[in-house]
Assembly symmetry: C2
Homo-oligomer: 167 residues x 2
DNA sequence: AGCATACGTCAGTGTTGTTGACATTCCAAC
DNA sequence: GTTGGAATGTCAACAACACTGACGTATGCT
């Protein structure tokens, strides 16, 4: 339909509209699988996907501030606050006043919070591990490359920062 | 933490927990980018992501039944019905009673519906095309391989059926 | 002192998922 | 041929989670 089907010195058949549509649909179906296992676990509790995301990134970046977290999650503070309130009330997350800047709140998982995080990420990692193993290392490298290229630039930065923080 | 870090005849370093976590986070950030452009377009109308999905798959499989569509989308018939009702009322989707089985409704996009579908998928394809081009054909192949391995088996079947229906 | 920043909260709204109840239609057993 | 159950689709009410807007408090900075 557009310029995708042409040859330009190299084979660009992987950029046809049909290929792109298959990529779009693969992304849709795969994301459902990606969230299915944690969703199942959480539906038994009073929590949802939003709680999972908050717990994941608090675990990933302990001591992060509310402001930082809501930028990573890409939601409003009101939306995040609703989730955090329940997590703090239930004793899964601890909020401490900032040392140098007392306006800030630093977030940590409690032991109970870490347990739930482990349960959720075990389930999600199991599926990811199975997919990675089936696909092989080259496919995994390609998977990561395409996903990074698909992010918004701000999110690329956030993602890279998180990657590097764990070395 | 688990068996991922071991060597077993081949290098399995791509299966470490840290690699899996990066894959999980890449999936999270990339999916946000994936939906960002259509979401922006739809927010100006009274529609959301659910309408986009319905329009996409009705366009993909014209004449599909409500039942078939809700299996593909993975939602309840009640949830899909609310979306379809507005799309039909707004003249984007046409619902016709089944010929052989009058319980069924066959769904088609109207001209107006096709226009919106085109607008939305143009935006989404543009991002996918850019990501694919940046990543290159080998990465794209890997991307697709991993995503397929991440789907639930039912969804793999639905995905394969859709892929093959367009040849 | 004055203004900006970080956080929390209340109120209201919209999208999208859920369950429950119900009408219509088909089909197969009787 | 009637009847009972399964399948298909619709309407209504509710829950989760996002949004905007407005406001209050504490703190930091100039």
């Amino acid at each position: 339909m557009s310029d995708g089907q042409a040859y330009r010195g190299e084979n660009l058949l992987f950029l046809t509209d049909e290929q792109l549509r298959q990529g779009i649909e693969a992304m849709f179906f795969a994301y459902r699988g990606f969230t299915a296992d944690p969703d199942r676990i959480l539906s038994d509790m009073a929590y949802g996907r939003a709680h999972h995301r908050a717990i994941h990134f608090i675990n990933r970046a302990p001591g992060t501030t509310v402001n930082n977290l809501l930028h990573i999650l890409g939601v409003t503070k009101q939306s995040l606050n609703r989730v955090l309130r329940t997590l703090i009330a239930d004793g899964l997350v601890q909020s401490t006043v900032g040392k140098s800047d007392k306006r800030e709140r630093h977030l940590h998982l409690t032991e109970e919070g870490k347990e739930l995080e482990q349960t959720l990420s075990d389930a999600q990692r199991a599926r990811m591990r199975s997919a990675f193993r089936d696909a092989g290392p080259e496919a995994v490298a390609g998977f990561r490359t395409v996903l990074e290229a698909m992010m918004d630039t701000e999110m690329q930065r956030a993602y890279t920062r998180l990657k590097e923080s764990s070395t």
